[in-house]
Amino acid sequence: MSRLKGLVARMRSVIGAQSSEQRMEEEFDFHLEMETKRLIEREGLSPREARRRALVSFGGLDTHREEMRDGRGARWLDETMVDLRYALRTMRGSPGFAVAVAVTLGVGIGVNGIVFGAIDSLLFRPIPTHDPSKLVALFNLDTKSKQPFSLGYEDYVDFRDKSNAFDGLAAMTDMPLNLAVPWSTGVADMVWGSLVTENYFTVLGMRPTVGRFFTAADAPQGANPFAVLSYDCWQSRFAGDSSVVGKTIRLNGTGFTVLGVAPPGFKGMRTFGFWPEIFVPIGMHNIAIPGSTHQLEGRGGGNLMVVGRMRQGMDRPRTEAASVGFAAQLASAFPATNATTSAIVIPAAGGFDNPAYVKPRVLFLSSALGVFASLVTMIIICANLANLQLARLAARVQEIAIRLSLGCSRERLVRQMIIESSVVALPGVAIAFATLPLSGPVEALMVPHLQFRVGFGTTVNDRIMWFTGLVAVLAVALFGLIPAIRASSARSLTSLVGSPRTAPGRSSRLRAVLVVSQLALSVMLLVGATLFVRSLLVERGNDIGFDSRNRAMFSTNVGLQSYDEARGRRYYDDVLARVRALPEVANATWGFPVPFDTYGRDVALYVDGVPTSSKDGTFAAQASMMAEDFVGALGFRLEAGREFTTNDSAGAPRVMVVSRHFASHVWPGKNPIGQRVRRGGASGPEATVVGVVGDATFASLGQSSASRVYFPLRQAYRDWETLIIHTHGDAASLISKLRPVITAADPALPIFGVTTMDDAVSGGFSTSRTAASIAGFFGGLALLISSVGLYAVVANGVSERTREIGIRVALGSTPGEVMRLVMQGGARLGFVGLVIGLGGAAVVARLMCALLHGLSAADPITFALVPVVLAVIVFVATFIPARRAVKLDPVAALRSD
């Protein structure tokens, strides 16, 4: 307590230095006045003599003044100011060093902040509401497979009304919507939407930005055509205009009144979902999801994501226990549907998703690798700066030695060094903070470009600022403290002083250790980066199985606009006829899914005599519904048989085309043409294989999609299809011409996913490409910084050994011998760094394995290439100083001291 009081008094006296000074002068004046008066009165001295005697007995005024200033810390302040000025002057004296520090530190710290920001927003994406930590998500849990799955509506209602486990429980399900804005001229567009229970925003505890949210009155089925917009939607599509509230927009062709706008930053509750733009009451499911007659029914599983607020005083485990108990009641009440259904409750404060979807290993790995790479880069940068500081220190040995011998305290010296490092680091820290807003664009590069927006929604928040600040402080401590301690320690000082003529001292040994660790860490980063790049090249080099050139894609969903099958078919034929009539068009077809679409689709197939593990004898395969001429229009390779024609229509015998991979797996050694396959099960409709096409890649992530079957669209209707147009010449330049031709068939129907096949293929690799370029950035940066460090050490060694080299040359050493002598040292450092680094890299590569598509963690090319690159760098970094050593004039060298 007394210490604290003292500290407060000291702080006050430092801050209020002016008033302390005044107080002191006043006290001294008072003292002298009283003493003078006393001497006049008691001893009868003259005022002049009394004043003189008073001053004498007081002692040296200035001495006491100084002592008091020291006592209250004024000296500390003075010295700090002097150090600051000195540091600024030194910095001006070596601008190159200052720029190097600013740039490397800025990049290093900034990168750490950005990486942390991405992970932060993934882990703690804040739901903009009060007390989000009380939010939890409820899933069914299969008691046998232990797999979580989403709820049916009736189970949800029972949990909400009867379980007593939650303080409010809401449900949602997502789907695409055709949005048309009647008062705007813009064409219809496809947006991502969310069907929510009317209590959704109430349970989340959100306030509308404008207007209002749904109320209990909006619950009745089918009678509440209301919509709430997301903040982003409101901003981008309605320019943030509040008058949109109360107006009517058209969703899937039906009018919906806009009630309000959700708070900014709310991207829906799902971690791995698209960001919904429009929220609609679940009672409107008939329009949002045409044909969804059973949406408000169902037990033992359904399509509802359920989120709730925990009751007062309850935590997640107790809420889960209560839910499991209630699920058991449901299981005994409805054994037919719920017998094996239990419950699981997960935190939802930062959004949630079905725990089964999350690939925690891949996520965790990418996060860990990101943190690892950025921290390692930071350490390399700090080691390099410490090294540069040590080199500068060596040049200041004289100065330091003089100051120490003149009685400068070591504490003072350390303080001065730290102040210098901080001043030098300050511009770097400023650069780092300035780079933080780049986190958004970096994220945009990282996340895949899909039809609707996804991502983490990285923004610069307090946590990121604090983290960046902490990294900055640690960095300055790391690169400032080592030279500071070194400078102040007596033993090292003698070694520094003695170094020009003796063997390398402790200081150069420390610098060698720093360089070796830099090189080792760089090798690790470089191996990681090379593996990513190689993985990308391997992926890209793979045959994608079709010709993506001169092809454009347009998607449409006629189902959302409530087309029935007959109208849908008329539309498909109409569009094909219109497009094929254009002179620029070589061919066109409908298909879904097509290669490098975001979607996949499984069908269950039954083939007589093919054993499977499932009870009903079926097995799953990827399937696409294609119109006639798809092989030609998509540039597939027809390996056997024929492709679909207009004759393969509803009334004709059912046919199908299979991929080479499928054919060789299901009918090894047999001719696949003429084989029969049933859809759905042993009693399903039977189709005859009429053709075999080459294996095509449908997605980027090395997915084993080669096993695929194709059904004719005319025999298996789908209401969501993609139009592929094969053009004469560049497809990109024709898109704007093709689009109005398609929309003319039905202007109210949104066309989406418009792109060229080349762009789609390239987009499929975007995540890998970004990972590779970011890893390459880290690796290159680390290597560059380390090579500068190595160069500095070798160059410094040359100037330290100038005399020795001079003697050797004078005694007849050839230039080759001198060069070998100098380069040997550098090569040894490089070799040690390489060996240590390769060891570490082997470990990192094994951990990275899950992120490398089609590449072994022990990829021989990578592990051969990196040492070669390092050898070249080491050679260059040592050759330049070595050449300088060779050019030394022996006479001048001997005189150098």
Partner: protein, 111 residues
Amino acid sequence: MAPHPQESDALRGSIDLLVLKALALEPMHGWGIGLRIQQISRGRLEVNQGSLYPALQRLEHRGWVESDWQSTENNRRARYYSLTKLGRKALGEEVDKWKRFAATMAIVLES
């Protein structure tokens, strides 16, 4: 006493102790403290008066004394120092320490 600001710790300690002792009776300004020390020691301790002030500052930082502006009998503004509770306790301890030290010194010197 030595005019050099870097007095030995023992000397500093003894000034601190004298100041504390002088303040034990009643709050007093710096000049008064010097006077009182002279009086108590019957003039035998000639304290360098100026060095009282760094001592007072030290004691204040340590939380043993506190100070504020007051008026003297002649209506002159002066900084008055008084012992804190902590300072009173410290005085007792410091006196004990000093006595033990003096006794030890006496034993050593008289043997």
